[in-house]
Symmetry: C2
Subunit: 346 residues, 2 copies
């Protein structure tokens, strides 16, 4: 049997380049000999935009569709107006490829530093909706720049979009030992979207009697993230709340140097995209200080999505072992990548 992975690689901006190189190193190292890895690099991000004014041309969009998955480093640079690359590239991909499951695991690995006293036992995943909510680009502004300006942002939510991501979250909760699913929203204020989310959450839940459920307002959820994070197993939430909560989750589990994410289209109709939660960190780009672990853990999510469960688990075990073995002396991006590539080598 000969197998292959056609991987699109978007290193992007800043430390994106450096961390993606390490992700590919570990990927190559972990894959069985018989799996053919074909990678194609896409030059997208701030440099491209400055040179050509393009964020993501149609031809490249078409080309990206031909891949089995996408590995992305980071997008964004202070030299580009805020929103241009985010909406023209990153969010464009998430929306066009219908990445409705934005999967973000949060685990406090041994021997990593957390700002929380007492090192609570943190091991949960956030299933963030990825194609709706306040991220749809709906809204506008009137009398822009004048004292009479009015600006709107519209959160769009559909039963179709909510039901599929809620169902995905129930499936993930059912497959975990604790089988607990928490819905986070703000249905005491955002009553229309919030009640729809809650009603669908309750209704789909009838099909999953083995899953324990809970509901929290987003403000209360942030409290529990720092006082009782061990209460969470699987969280399902809206696009914007998920954005906020997963940065907080990353912070309490050792920092965004470790937080991985998958932008998943479970149907397989379009390639899914895997990326660290962190940004392009231009301040440390080129210094060798970037931690590639988040990207490497994103590669594990990528492998799991493509059916390489054993290889995904090998990477995750290697990361745990690598963190456990740390003696606190600083390591470069490359050294961390080498250490992990060594550990996963078959």
């Amino acid at each position: 049997m000969s197998r292959s992975i056609r991987l699109a690689v978007i290193p992007g901006d800043g430390i994106g380049q450096e961390v993606v190189a390490q992700g590919l190193k570990v990927l190559t190292s972990v894959l069985p000999q018989d799996v053919k890895l074909e990678t194609k690099e896409y030059d997208l991000g701030a440099k491209r935009w400055h040179a050509t004014g393009e964020t993501l041309p149609d031809a490249e969009m078409e080309s990206l569709k031909q891949h089995d998955a996408i590995l992305l480093g980071a997008i964004g640079d202070p030299s580009v107006p805020s929103g241009v690359l985010e909406r023209g590239l990153l969010l464009k991909l998430r929306f066009a490829f219908d990445h409705f499951v934005n999967l973000r695991p949060s685990k406090l690995f041994p021997n990593t530093s957390t700002p929380l006293a007492g090192r609570p036992d943190i091991d949960f995943i956030v299933v963030r909706e990825g194609t709706e909510g306040p991220y749809t680009g709906n809204g506008g502004s009137l009398r822009t720049g004048t004292p009479h300006e009015v600006a709107t942002e519209v959160s769009l939510n559909t039963a179709y979009g909510v039901e599929r991501v809620v169902r995905d979250a129930y499936e993930r909760a059912k497959a975990r030992p604790r089988k607990k699913l928490t819905l986070v929203h703000k249905n005491n204020v955002l009553v229309h979207a919030g009640h729809m989310w809650k009603n669908i959450f309750d209704k789909v839940g009838e099909e999953y009697p083995e899953v324990t459920t809970d509901y929290l307002h987003v403000d209360a959820a942030t409290i529990f993230f720092v006082t009782q994070p061990e209460r969470f197993d699987v969280i399902v939430t809206d696009n914007l709340f998920g954005d906020i909560l997963t940065d907080l989750a990353a912070a309490v589990t050792g920092g965004i140097g470790l937080a991985a994410s998958g932008n998943i289209n479970p149907s397989g109709a379009f390639p899914s995209m895997f990326e660290p939660v962190h940004g392009s960190a231009p301040d440390i780009a080129g210094t060798g200080k970037a931690d590639p672990t988040a990207t490497i853990l994103s590669v594990a999510l990528l492998l799991r999505h493509l059916g390489y469960e054993a290889e995904a688990a090998r990477i995750e075990e290697a990361v745990a072992a690598d963190l456990e073995a740390r003696d606190g002396s600083p390591r470069t991006t490359d050294e961390i990548g080498d250490a992990l590539a060594g550990r996963v080598a078959g």
Copy 2:
């Protein structure tokens, strides 16, 4: 000179009753003899709604306007559908009385427990916009309850509304030793509202050259709340982001048992309203376990707003001293109120 305070009191639901009683006790104790305190209690909240279906009738609204300030305990009960009391009472008051400055100080008092390791030096205030954003009740749902439902939530933002709260925040920053103001938004995704906020923030800032400014996306801000909270001095932000951030701020500064807030109309056209950040906590109502400190600190904000600066400071010093003197044995709501009333007595 004879002075008076005409205070409206809305104890509300759950522990609201208990904590407000202690707030009034301390208020009475701290006020100089010559100040006449007239209180009028309003029976609003879950019980009233169950009995009459009313949340806030026009007559009571008119009557509330006659007061110098409002002290509110907490609103909400699981027996009332989510959103009914929040929108029909609490938010109705904030909007009708144009409470555009939702002021929430965050301070880590000595000898209080924080979930953060290393006890960082936390002392910042959040100026949360209180009358716009996703809280306006704008939005709706179509084909409600069917698989074709579409639900929207519209965030409304005006230059008028943003400018006035941003200006208030600059004034507060200017009056503090560190003179630093951070804008929190999400202008890489919510580009219309986000850019308007940022432009107004920059423009008003030209009038405050002595104030150092910073901008953070809301997701990144949550990271700094737990890893570097000492970097904040004054934060100005949108209604929803402020809601989320201030619960997190409360959690890292010893819990919502200590977090005070003011819903302020700086023009004085309508009475301002002061309330603890916490909710009605029906699970501990009647047990004497509720900490009235957040309400008592809200009374300090109320006094400061009405010009009683010395009395406000006395309450804050009493709270600091009381917390410092704690020996860890549990105290009842009443005992804490008595201790603080004793400390502030003239």
